[in-house]
């Protein structure tokens, strides 16, 4: 590979080229110090997962940065309360490092809970708290007794692993709430599911809910898009957990399966193929319900009929163009590759921050031979791959965007900050429109001009 020289020692086995052989990619381990990883920390993982719970107080116990950098940065919408869009911090100072931050945390909860009337509070631990050793569990228990709402510690000290460990800590926090209230009785003939790993970015959860409603399926709780504590507490009343973004939420689904015997399936709603397959799979799980498969087919047929013609003009322009992607989780990568293929585009680079060995094997199997596959990459490598592959589109998050633009390549944001719905059938049209606008803009050609 031409860009080999740009890859740091200790990272060379984290890059491979798709072919017939298994990749055996080096992955699922801490980032190399000084490599400028695009990953964040454990706290980030927890914060991402819990962020959309809209009627909870999200109190970050730590110095100001952790709370300030995560204030209202995501596109997760709520149909009602908006508490999740505020940033709460104990703002720990030097004297707290010396004497401990417990008193400050207790006082903050004593003020904030009565004032903001949340249905529950999540108290996030940060690096500093992990060091000074505040007893979060005890403090949360005491606050819970005092204020009569669940106060849940989230063990998200930044240094205790990777973003993935943060997902797990968030799942544990959610799990502690489930089963603490009685679910409503099931309506006859209407199966109930929970949606996991769906964060309602730009209202995507509402799009999916409308599909399920038309199929005659009730959505119990959504983890955590447009999330409500009450629904989470009753989530054990569902018959099936449908997990998207499996990296973040499979842990919770597994625990719910063990405790309440709720089976789970892994799906994706990105792209026409995957979205249709998700709905069919849910219908198949309830095939004893009369007419459910037919209704699923009707929803898919109706949506696809509306969407396909809208995609046609975009496909014509995008045919044969090369795309690169670097995303958080592997499941998103799988769907994106298929969605890009549907638009006539070829994926020449596929990377993720948090993929595991099985994920990368699957990635290899769906990529064209020659596609570069990379784990936990960095700007230096990514820009090398972009030039090397001649990609005309880069899909990623905020940190990847300027790389593409500096190199004169179109960019499409597929992260939680975005304000465009990309999931579901209608999301596919938005996706195609954005990809088209990114690739076809006349501004790229201007860069070839000389003065």
């Amino acid at each position: 590979m031409a860009a080999r020289a740009d890859i740091l020692q200790g990272r060379q086995k984290s890059v491979a080229v798709a072919g017939d052989q298994p990749l055996a990619l080096d992955c699922a381990k801490p980032s190399l110090a000084g490599s400028v990883s695009q990953r964040a920390c454990v706290f980030c993982g927890s914060r991402v997962v819990l962020y959309p719970v809209a009627d909870a107080l999200h109190l970050v116990h730590g110095p100001i940065g952790c709370a300030a950098y995560t204030w209202d940065i995501r596109g997760a919408l709520s149909s009602g309360p908006q508490l999740h869009r505020l940033s709460f911090s104990t703002d720990l100072r030097e004297q707290d490092v010396v004497y401990g931050g417990e008193k400050k945390l207790a006082l903050a909860l004593d003020r904030l809970i009565p004032q903001f009337q949340p249905k529950a509070a999540f108290v996030y631990s940060t690096c500093l708290v992990g060091l000074i050793g505040d007893d979060l569990k005890r403090l949360c228990r005491q606050a819970s007794e005092k204020h009569g709402i669940p106060v849940v510690p989230v063990e998200s000290e930044g240094f205790r692993g990777t973003k993935k460990d943060g997902y797990k800590a968030a799942c544990e926090a959610l799990y502690s709430l489930i089963g603490t209230a009685e679910p409503a009785p099931l309506a006859p003939g209407i199966p109930r599911i929970n949606i996991l790993g769906e964060f309602n970015i730009a209202g995507e959860a509402w799009i999916l809910q409308s599909y399920y409603r038309r199929m005659g399926v009730e959505v119990g709780a959504i983890f955590t898009g447009d999330g409500r504590i009450d629904a989470i507490q009753r989530a054990q009343g569902a018959q099936l957990n449908v997990v998207q973004c499996s990296g973040s939420m499979t842990h919770l689904a597994q625990k719910m399966k063990e405790r309440w015997g709720i089976p789970y399936i892994r799906v994706s709603y990105f792209g026409i193929e995957d979205c249709a397959e998700a709905l069919y799979e849910v219908a198949r799980r309830f095939e004893a319900v009369p007419g459910i498969l037919e209704r699923a087919r009707a929803v898919v047929a109706q949506e696809v009929a509306a969407v396909l013609p809208a995609l046609e003009p975009f496909r014509k322009d995008l045919q044969g163009r090369k795309a690169a992607l670097y995303v958080g989780g592997a499941f998103k990568a799988f769907s994106l590759i298929k969605a890009l293929r549907m638009l006539g585009m070829r994926t020449v680079l596929a990377g993720t921050q948090t993929g595991g060995p099985e994920d990368y094997e699957r990635l290899r199997s769906i990529c064209d031979p020659g596609t570069i596959i990379v784990d936990d990459s960095n700007p230096k490598e990514l820009s090398g791959f972009l030039r090397q592959t001649g990609a005309e589109l880069f899909i990623g998050g905020v940190k990847e965007r300027p790389l593409a633009h500096k190199l004169g390549i179109g960019f499409c944001d597929h992260n939680h900050e975005r304000k465009e719905a990309l999931a579901g059938f209608e999301g596919m049209v938005n996706f195609a429109r954005e990809v088209h606008a990114s690739v076809m803009s006349p501004v790229w050609a201007l860069r070839q001009s000389e003065l």
Partner: protein
Amino acid sequence: MDSMLSQAVEDALKAGDAAEERQGMVNACKLCAPLGASLAFRGIHGGMPLLHGSQGCATYIRRYMISHFREPIDIASSNFSESAVIFGGASNLRQALSNVARAYHPSVIGVATTCLAETMGDDVQGLLKTRALDEPAAPPAVFVNTPSFKGTHAEGYVASLRAIAERFAQGGSRIPLLALMPGMVSPEDLRALKALVASFGQDAVLLPDYSETLDGGAWKEYCDLPPGGTTLERLELLGRAQEALELGATLAGRQTAGSFLKERFGVEHRVLPLPLGLKATDALVQHLSGLSGHPIPQALRDERSRLLDAYADGHKVLFGLKVAVYGEEDLACALASWLAEVGAKPVLVASGGESGRMQAALQASIPGFDGLDCRVMQGADFEAIGQAAEECGAELLAGSSKGYSVAKRLKAPLLRAGFPIHDRFGGARILHLGYGGALRLFDSLVNLVLEKKQSDSSVGYSYL
């Protein structure tokens, strides 16, 4: 969907206790010190910031800065793991330094601590000294303590500039050179300041200069680190400068790069407020003229005259307009002084900073400040700022885009200034400083008031 904050949250935000007794911060009006360090190190040619702490610190700060500057901003991390916390972060830091050197070929690595490294008490200084002896060919490192639990990003910035001066400035015979510490301003401001100084034929070293590194052009070829920034050779000259000039009304008497150059090398040290507005720019212009012995260029006089003319044309729109200002202390004070200068009424000047110097700075720059009934708040968050702005009857807000939710609730226009601008393009190109900056801010301010008047009216005026 327009997701305006729900009524319940709106009400709760108004219901807080008096700010002084409040526990817990809601929507901070400050960031942590390592961000300031990262910004400062970006202003050195070939400078690469490295945060000694968890991976998240570097990534969050990158994301935050990239969303404002819209440029690649690489910040390395020593990426603490649990074992590093138990056994110390030295080996992580050593590995990070060598990987950064290998991948980026930086001319300097700026190492800043985080809360984690500070609390563990890693001896970074000692490690860097040993490394310099063991690996003489490695790029030099500059080190600054920036615990996230102390001060704000503004303090991190000031401390980093001092650390850079301490590390690189060298003594020697005086040369006709100005050491200019321009404050935490936009790349466009830096370009304007450089042009202003150059118009007096005055040579200056800017500490820092991120005018290109954080607002650069399209790349023909990939750059490990963006072009631009003050070179190490130029930084070495700082100790020989004829004067160290720092811009920022609250900087006097603090431990800054300028105060260091004075203590260590006897460099003349001056502090002026940020040159935002006519009078503040006049002060800088006169000072530069005196320093350089060069008359004030006619083009500058013309620009000043245009500003005065614009002030005359727009004065009525702004007279008595109640404005709430927030942000870093120096910028908030500068904006307030400018607003008073054009006849608007700063009713609130708020900052997340807690230097205790804003009141005095405002008294010094705004005639009759004590009679103005302007509230000065330090250590403020946006909950407190929102309450105070409402109580003061603010009709307009001025500051970063983080005040947008308050502005929206109060139905007050927002004059976007400073950092961060996350909801508009061109944050890096907002010009605040000099006569030109005042002119642009003035036009924007007048137009915001007119736009509100126009859109609030059912008449549909197309002629105002």
